[in-house]
C-alpha cells in the first residue's frame, strides 16, 4: 500500500517529476566530474612507487645538483639503482602544445620506471642513438608522430632549437601511468651544453633512486642528505609520493575551490528537489488531512513523503552516476592534454551515492514537517 502510494504520487505530475529527475541527474553527474577532476590532480601521486626516492637541491627545484653526486649517492647503503634527469621545458612549435619533456639517463631510468612498457627492439635502438627520444602513446597520437620522425623542441631553460629522432613509443602498464611524457638522452643535452654554455653543463635537476627496502626509505633519504650537508649544494631527499604531493600542494587553493564548488552543486540541487517536494505536498495537503481523519499517523505520512523524495533522488542519481562514465570519456578526449589520467574511481561513485541520499533526505525534511504538523481543519479548508 505504502509503496503503491509512493509510486502513484511520483507519477502524478509527470512533467515536474521529469524536470526534477533531470536536475538531480545533472547535479550528480557534475558532482562526479568535479570529484574526478580532483582525483586527476592526484594522478602523479597515485602513480608514484613506494620504493623510489627523489633527491633535489634543497633551495628549490630551479637549482641543480652537480653530476659528481652520482657516485656518492650510489654508494649509500640501501640504494639500489640511481638515475638522474633534468626538466627540459621545451616547447613544441607553440606554447599551447604543452607536454612534460625531460632529459634522463635512459638505461637506469627505464630500469627504475618498469611501468613504462617499451617494445624490446625499440628500446635497443632508443638506448643506442644519442639523439633519440621516447614518447608516450597518447602524446604520439596527439601530434600524430611516427617512429623515425624528426621532432624539434625550442628550449626555454636551455636556449636554442633541439632536434630529436623518435625511436620509441611507450605505453603504461596500467591506466595510472602518464602516457603523455617525452624523454630523451641526458647525455645529448649535456654534450651540447658543453659546447654552447659550459656553465650549465654537468648539472643534474633531480636524482631518482630506488631503495631495496621501502620500509627503510626514510632512513636512506636521511643518509643521502647527511653526506651533502654543509656543502654548497645541499640536497633534499623524499619519497616520490611526497615529491608529487609537493606539486599538488602548490595549487592547493584551486583544489579547495573545486572541492567547495562540488558541494555547492549538491546544495543547489537540494534546493531544487526540496522545492518540488514542497510543492507536491502543498497541493496534497487536503489529501493528507483526509489520511489523518482516517487515522493514519504522522509517521505514515512522513514515510510516503520521504519515500517519494528518496525514489526521485535514487532514479535521478543513478542516471547521473551512469552518465558519468561516458562523460568522463568525452572529457578525456577533449582535455586529455591537461589531465593525462581521467577516470571515474569507485570512491567517486560512492560519494555520488552518498550525495544522492543526502539530497533525497534533505528534500523531504521541510515538506514532511509541514504535512505532519498541519491541523486537519486548516488543511481541509484550504483553497488552492
Amino acid at each position: 500500500m505504502l509503496l503503491k502510494l509512493v509510486f502513484r504520487n511520483v507519477l502524478r505530475h509527470k512533467l515536474r517529476t521529469g524536470l526534477t529527475l533531470c536536475g538531480i541527474g545533472v547535479a550528480v553527474l557534475s558532482f562526479g566530474l568535479l570529484r574526478t577532476v580532483i582525483s586527476a590532480w592526484y594522478a602523479g601521486v597515485e602513480a608514484s612507487s613506494a620504493n623510489r626516492l627523489i633527491t633535489r637541491n634543497s633551495i628549490s627545484l630551479v637549482f641543480p645538483l652537480p653530476l659528481s653526486y652520482l657516485e656518492r649517492i650510489r654508494g649509500v647503503e640501501g640504494v639500489k639503482t640511481v638515475s638522474y634527469g633534468n626538466w627540459f621545458g621545451g616547447i613544441y612549435i607553440e606554447e599551447k602544445n604543452f607536454f612534460a619533456n625531460l632529459a634522463v639517463e635512459p638505461r637506469t631510468y627505464l630500469e627504475l620506471y618498469s611501468e613504462f612498457l617499451l617494445p624490446e627492439d625499440q628500446k635497443q635502438i632508443f638506448l643506442r642513438d644519442r639523439r633519440a627520444c621516447m614518447v608516450g602513446r597518447k602524446l604520439a597520437k596527439r601530434f600524430n608522430w611516427k617512429i623515425g620522425d624528426l621532432i624539434t623542441l625550442r628550449g626555454t631553460i636551455f636556449p636554442g632549437n633541439w632536434e630529436f629522432v623518435l625511436r620509441g613509443i611507450y605505453s603504461g602498464r596500467d591506466n595510472r601511468v602518464d602516457e603523455s611524457q617525452f624523454f630523451f638522452h641526458w647525455d645529448y643535452l649535456n654534450e651540447s651544453l658543453k659546447k654552447r654554455q659550459s656553465v650549465m653543463a654537468d648539472q643534474v635537476g633531480i636524482y631518482i633512486l630506488s631503495v631495496a627496502n621501502p620500509e627503510r626509505a626514510a632512513e636512506t633519504a636521511e643518509r643521502v642528505d647527511r653526506i651533502f650537508r654543509n656543502s654548497y649544494a645541499e640536497t633534499l631527499t623524499e619519497t616520490e609520493k611526497a615529491f608529487q604531493l609537493g606539486f599538488v600542494a602548490l595549487t592547493e587553493a584551486i583544489l579547495l575551490v573545486i572541492q567547495l564548488v562540488s558541494f555547492v552543486v549538491i546544495v543547489i540541487i537540494m534546493a531544487v528537489a526540496a522545492n518540488s517536494m514542497s510543492m507536491s505536498v502543498r497541493e496534497r495537503l487536503g489529501e493528507y488531512a483526509v489520511f489523518k481523519t482516517l487515522g493514519f499517523g504522522g509517521p505514515y505520512l512522513a514515510a510516503t513523503i520521504l519515500g517519494e523524495s528518496l525514489l526521485l533522488a535514487a532514479v535521478g542519481g543513478t542516471g547521473g552516476i551512469l552518465l558519468s562514465f561516458p562523460a568522463a570519456k568525452t572529457f578525456l578526449h577533449y582535455l586529455g592534454d591537461y589531465f593525462p589520467v581521467f577516470s571515474v574511481t569507485p570512491q567517486t561513485v560512492l560519494f555520488q551515492g552518498l550525495a544522492t541520499l543526502a539530497v533525497g533526505v534533505a528534500a523531504a525534511v521541510l515538506p514532511t514537517w509541514r504535512a505532519v504538523r498541519v491541523p486537519i481543519i486548516q488543511a481541509l479548508g484550504r483553497v488552492g
Binding site: 526534477t20 536536475g23 630551479v62 636556449p159 602548490l250 575551490v257 531544487v272 510543492m279 497541493e283 521541510l366
Partner: protein, 388 residues
C-alpha cells in the same frame, strides 16, 4: 498592467518557501558564476597592475619568464646603454639589472612548501617601481645580507617576520623591512641586494634587465635595437605585456572552469525555476481564466508570468551578488605554473562582473519562465474556468 504586476509579486509572497528555495538555487549559481569571474579578474588585475606601461623588461629570448632567463654581465651592460632609456639621478640611465631565483619556504598554515621569488635588486629598482614602498623597517643596505619582504610573504610564510632572519643559500639573511606593493605581484616577493644574492646562489648571470623609457613611444625603437643586435640573445617586452602574458594560462584555466561549471549548474537552477513556474501556473488555472474573462489579453498574462519568473531571477541574482561581494575580503595564494612561483591575489568585483552576473540571473529566470508563461497565456477561457 500594474494590477497584474502586483498579482505576481503577491503570489511570490504567498508561496514563500517555494520562492526562497527557487531563488536560493539561482543565487548559488550566480554566486559561483560571479566568484569565478572575480577570481580570474583579480588574478589579471594583480599581474597587470604589477607592470608599468613605460617600463621595459629584457629577458633571454624565448625564455618566457625571468625565472628561466639568463642575461650575462656583458649583455646586461650593452642593454644599459640603450639611448631610449630615461635618465635617473646623477644623469645615469634608469636601468636595473636584477636576479630572480626561487626558494622553497614553508607556509604558515598547513606547513606545505611553496616556491617564493627572491629578487636581487639594484639601486634603481625602487625608482622603477613607484608602487613599491617600504611599510615597516627600512630598505636593505647595499653589500649586506639584508632582505626586504613583501606583505603577502609576511602574512603567509613561516619565519618571515621583521627582525628575524631567514636561512638560505648557506647564509643567514636578516629581514630589515616589509614592503607594501598594493595588489601587485611584488607583494609575493623577497628583495635583497643583487650582488650579494648572485654570490650566495653562485649564479654568475642576471635574470633580467629593466629600464624606463625616456618617452613612451620609444618602445618599438628600443625593442628593434635590442633584438637585432647580434651580440645580444635577448628580447624586450613592455612590463605590462610581460606580466599579462604570465597570467594568461591561469586566467584561461579559471575562465574555462568557471564557464563550464556555471553552464552545468544553471541547468539545475533553470529546472528549479521551471518547476516552480509550472506549478504556479497550474495552481492558478482558474485565476488565469478569470483574468482572461475580465478582458486581460493573452500578451498581458504572458508578461505577468514572465515578470514573476524574472523577479525570481532578480532575487537570486541580488542574493548571489550580495554574498559574492564578501569574497573581496579573501586572498587566494597559489602557484602560477607559468612562473612556478607563489602569487597572492584577491577576488575583485567590478561593475562589469556585477552586470554579467545579473544578466545571467535574469536569463535563468527567463529560461525557466518562458515555457510555463506560454502555457498560461495559451489557455482557453472556458477550459481554464472549468478546471478543478
Amino acid at each position: 498592467m500594474a494590477l497584474l504586476f502586483f498579482y505576481s509579486l503577491r503570489n511570490l509572497l504567498t508561496r514563500r518557501l517555494t520562492t526562497v528555495l527557487t531563488a536560493s538555487g539561482m543565487a548559488l549559481v550566480v554566486f559561483v558564476f560571479a566568484s569565478i569571474l572575480m577570481l580570474a579578474e583579480g588574478l589579471q588585475k594583480t599581474l597587470v597592475e604589477t607592470g608599468s606601461y613605460d617600463n621595459v623588461v629584457v629577458i633571454r629570448r624565448s625564455s618566457g619568464s625571468e625565472v628561466q632567463s639568463g642575461v650575462d654581465r656583458v649583455q646586461a651592460s650593452i642593454v644599459e646603454t640603450v639611448p631610449e632609456a630615461a635618465s635617473g639621478p646623477r644623469g645615469r640611465p634608469l636601468v636595473a639589472k636584477e636576479l630572480v631565483v626561487l626558494i622553497t619556504m614553508e607556509k604558515r598554515e598547513g606547513g606545505s612548501r611553496a616556491n617564493v621569488v627572491i629578487r636581487g635588486i639594484s639601486e634603481n629598482s625602487f625608482l622603477l617601481r613607484p608602487q613599491v614602498r617600504v611599510a615597516a623597517g627600512r630598505a636593505p643596505k647595499r653589500g649586506s645580507s639584508e632582505i626586504l619582504i613583501g606583505r603577502s610573504i609576511e602574512k603567509g610564510f613561516q619565519g618571515a617576520d621583521l627582525g628575524k632572519s631567514l636561512f638560505f643559500a648557506m647564509r643567514s639573511w636578516t629581514v630589515v623591512g616589509v614592503f607594501d606593493a598594493g595588489s601587485t605581484g611584488f607583494s609575493s616577493e623577497i628583495w635583497g641586494d643583487v650582488d650579494q644574492l648572485m654570490q650566495a646562489f653562485r649564479r654568475p648571470v642576471y635574470s633580467s634587465v629593466l629600464f624606463k623609457l625616456r618617452e613612451s613611444s620609444g618602445f618599438d625603437r628600443a625593442k628593434a635595437r635590442i633584438e637585432s643586435d647580434p651580440r645580444l640573445t635577448l628580447e624586450a617586452k613592455r612590463e605590462t605585456t610581460y606580466y599579462k602574458d604570465q597570467s594568461e594560462m591561469m586566467a584561461r584555466f579559471l575562465r574555462i572552469l568557471g564557464f563550464s561549471l556555471t553552464i552545468v549548474f544553471s541547468i539545475g537552477a533553470v529546472v528549479g525555476g521551471m518547476i516552480t513556474m509550472y506549478a504556479s501556473v497550474a495552481n492558478r488555472t482558474r485565476e488565469i481564466g478569470t483574468l482572461r474573462a475580465l478582458g486581460f489579453r493573452r500578451t498581458r498574462i504572458l508578461a505577468a508570468f514572465l515578470a514573476e519568473s524574472l523577479f525570481l531571477g532578480f532575487l537570486g541574482g541580488t542574493a548571489g551578488l550580495f554574498f559574492a561581494s564578501f569574497l573581496q575580503f579573501f586572498t587566494v595564494s597559489t602557484t602560477n605554473f607559468q612562473t612556478f612561483s607563489e602569487l597572492a591575489f584577491s577576488f575583485s568585483l567590478d561593475a562589469l562582473i556585477a552586470l554579467k552576473a545579473m544578466a545571467f540571473a535574469l536569463a535563468m529566470g527567463f529560461a525557466g519562465g518562458i515555457l510555463p508563461s506560454l502555457r498560461a497565456s495559451g489557455m482557453e477561457i472556458v477550459d481554464a474556468l472549468r478546471e478543478a
